[in-house]
Subunit: 541 residues, 2 copies
């Protein structure tokens, strides 16, 4: 078994199971870049290990429809399009819609909880789990080498909106049968206690709407169908229609309605265009953009670039988490909306969000019911994995049977014992524009330097005969924060250095460029205490 992503990070989840030369993939998601990875669109699991093995891949199992579990599938299928994909009805609807945009037609097979499916010699059983998207599945993989339970993402809401509980009866059966290896969601392992009920959010939202006389905008994740359901119900209870706002919100709710996951009469909804011309106390806008994304609905409202014009007496509810790294952007949105006159309700001042992941208290139940022989915490940053492993140990799993791994580490399961036996190369695969894996860490380092310091480029035409400057130096600087005339000081220095180089008989372009680089580098460090990128170009003529 090899995790190719998702260990030591929250995102790009992908695990590879190998048995008698056949490969089963569980999940294939994306990771969103941080501020030190500028310009990167998304980050993929490192498929490198599979590149020459694509014919051995017998299937892809998707545990649920979140981007960090399905977002990488289109890129993987570019390597081989006809790999069969298994998942629940909603999960497959989401991935099929996504693949369509990439012009890929996939082979899919719907599975449901309780169902058993044999793929090569992998004997799979699917188990219902509860999460912040409906229709999530855990998967039990029975093999001749032993059994593995992969939870996917889950929590144990005991009063879920759809009544679909994490199936502890199935967990009990599996425990009694004997579980060799337990791969368990670590996201909230360091959060004590229990994740509160999703259904407690509805009344809070309904109450806020009932006290609102103006426009109401609710923002959340577009895949969180139960959250949207509660907003829809709260809107109806207040005699308001619902306008869906944002491309993914519209698309996902269409899928969810067609499949029956979102329960609402068609007349509940109103087009954005019509909504805007209605009396504003008769509509609720259900929108994306809860993370302060600069191009999303909420940010555009703040910048007065959206057709929904927020003003005095309006209410905006951020019914969402605050993903670490997004704080500044989200607070900018909250401040901007407040400044426009809106009352902004968010998880900082009201109970309008609960997590989708099991907290420590819930995880302890799982360990006690399953009594796994080996445990490997997955889906978490390092501190989460450690916290999850500690929970396992507290329920009696011996410390040497708790595997804290990294992306690319190879885990072997033999005779009831899982051990780390090696590692494959596993880096970060960056998507930028049309390119996949073309951006390197060096490029990102260049980007960070350019962002911090800007650049200076220097062009010289050199007389091939004499080696002296025939034209130039022309100097262009950007983001260097200085007027062009500052370079008047350094031009004579370059001219002198080049004349000396010419006198020494230097005619090689690269060597002349180095002379320029050194001269301007020394000058700029001393005169400006700055270290911009320096790009000398010499053409001999």
């Amino acid at each position: 078994m090899i995790p190719l992503g998702g260990i030591g990070e929250i995102g790009r989840n992908m695990t590879v199971f190998e048995l008698d030369g056949k490969i089963l993939v569980v999940d294939c998601g994306v990771l969103f870049p941080e501020e030190h990875q500028p310009g990167v669109d998304v980050i993929l699991p490192d498929f490198g290990y599979l590149r020459d093995r694509m014919q051995d891949v017998v299937g892809i199992v998707l545990t649920h429809g979140h981007e960090d579990h399905i977002g990488g599938v289109p890129y993987l299928l570019r390597l081989r399009e006809d790999i069969p994909i298994f998942g629940s009805a909603l999960t497959l609807a989401f991935i099929v819609s996504k693949l369509k945009e990439h012009r890929i037609t996939a082979q899919t097979q719907v599975v449901a909880e309780g169902q058993r499916v044999k793929i090569a010699d992998f004997d799979l059983e699917f188990i219902a789990v509860n999460h912040s998207i409906p229709d999530a599945l855990a998967v039990l993989i029975r093999t001749s080498a032993g059994s593995v339970l992969h939870t996917g993402d889950f929590k144990m809401d005991q009063l879920p909106l759809d009544g679909r509980l994490t199936d502890l009866r199935a967990f009990s059966r599996i425990g009694e049968e004997g579980l060799d290896l337990f791969l368990c969601d670590s996201t909230n392992a360091d959060v004590p206690g229990f994740t509160p009920l999703e259904k407690d959010i509805g009344p809070v939202i309904e109450n806020v709407i009932s006290r609102s006389k103006g426009r109401v905008v609710v923002a959340s994740f577009s895949s969180h169908i139960h959250r949207v359901q509660q907003v829809v119900d709260a809107a109806l209870a207040n005699n308001r229609k619902v306008a869906l706002v944002g491309r993914s919100m519209v698309k996902n709710m269409q899928i969810a309605s067609e499949l029956g996951y979102l329960k609402a009469e068609p007349e509940t909804f109103v087009d954005l265009k019509n909504a805007i011309s209605m009396p504003q106390d008769q509509v609720v806008y259900m929108s994306t953009g809860s993370q302060g994304e600069p191009m999303a609905v909420l940010s555009r409202m703040v910048n007065l670039e959206h057709e929904i014009e927020i003003g005095q007496g309006d209410t905006v509810i951020l019914a969402s988490s605050l993903i670490p790294g997004n704080e500044n952007a989200v607070y900018r949105v909250i401040d901007g909306l407040t400044k426009l006159g809106a009352n902004v309700v968010h998880k900082g001042n009201a109970k309008v969000h609960v997590s989708g992941h099991a907290a420590a208290g819930e995880l302890l139940y799982c360990y006690n019911i399953l009594k796994p022989k080996n445990v490997m915490p997955v889906h978490g940053e390092y501190r989460h994995l450690i916290a999850n492993g500690n929970l396992a140990q507290q329920t009696g799993v011996p410390s040497e049977r708790v595997l804290i791994t990294e992306d690319g580490w190879v885990v072997d399961l033999v005779a009831g014992k899982a051990d780390i036996v090696g590692a494959v190369e596993c880096g970060l695969l960056y998507v930028d524009g049309k390119t996949v894996g073309k951006i390197t860490e060096d490029d990102l380092k260049d980007r960070r330097i350019l962002a911090q310091e800007g650049f200076i480029s220097i062009f010289c035409v050199i007389d091939a005969q004499t080696g002296r400057i025939a034209s130039g130096p022309e100097i262009r600087a950007r983001a260097f924060a200085e007027a062009d005339h500052v370079f008047d000081d350094v031009k004579p220095l370059i001219e002198r250095a080049m004349a000396e180089a010419a006198a020494e008989g230097i005619r090689d372009t690269y060597a002349m460029q180095q002379v320029i680089r050194r001269t301007i580098g020394t000058w700029v460090a001393k005169a400006h205490r700055r270290r911009p990128m320096i790009i000398p170009v010499v053409i001999t003529y």
Copy 2:
């Protein structure tokens, strides 16, 4: 009265009071840049308004020694060095030490709580307030136009370590005398209840240390002398010496010890060098770097670049807040230390930090005791100002007497009424390297583009006679994430476009550069779906 910083932001606090042509400045701090302001060192209040009025400035009052209140002083004094500075003993010790580094000798006058000082026609009274740095002062400014109380930063810890309470008796006297305008710290106005006691942190830290058998590192802000005092006491209680780590920690604690704010025998401390060679269960390292700053102690430990080598069984305590925007960096440090084997204790899993600012419950006390005629919330982002204003209104201040302002807005106090009467220009003054105010928003936009997309520069030598390319195009790209050969496709396009331009008789350098820019811009958008910065340079020869 004009706030030149600190309104709508937490940082660069500076307020200007003007009376009969004389100007009094209260505080002059820095703001730390966010991720959309790359390469900026710090941001200053916009002094522009004062530039031609420096001879009218009669004094600078510093409420306390934090960077966001004193960090801008060296830059202001560059405009006029001999402005008298007033502040408490500790505050002045901090600013004098800072000015020394800038090679500025300041005129300072120590003031203390209870003291009255007349500066021009400003009649000042200083009042003790409690904050996360000792010796903080509020200032009451009595003038012929009315009285103004500026809290500076404060909270109302009722059992402070040094017994120095926020002086509510003085607030009561001022309230009875009649207060015209109240400028009040808004930082925690949206936090319900009361800030917990600082002294409750000590026992938690002591307990963690007592259970630690290996190295113990505690990180906090180097100006938080009471926090350091509690760590020192906890170390002594566990028979450990204290090694101060980080330049500012060493410097500030030296000042604090000399002035008697930090109470510890000299033999309590041990040099870092000696500490490292001691048995590690006999020392506590008191360090900076609690915000995950890349070059600070904690990050260097994670990267194995620090002489303190963290390993299995060690303990690291982050006894500090998590400033919004720093989350990713701090979690990277926590994960890195965990990976090295350390037990990391932080405010997410233990009570090792309390805020330095008054929460809503405390602010209500102030409003009820002072009963100010006019209120202007300061020191906060927009949502904090609004929350603070709402608290004032709930205690009976009429809404029209609550002034929600912005940086640069002019507030006039006449006959007991404060009103917004205008605005002066007030932008963000960026410091970068040696430059102050040279970086513009355009430069920052360039930096963001360079970070996201990189750049392509194209260099051509043009025959002045024919207008045709004599040499080149030479193309250099950085951070564009492509091998150089990708430009093989576009070179013929440039050559063709330039030949056409030459045939049309175009000889102007700028026009030829525009031809190149258009050609390569169209190509890169289509072929790579990217929008790098494009820098064409044409030299005619």
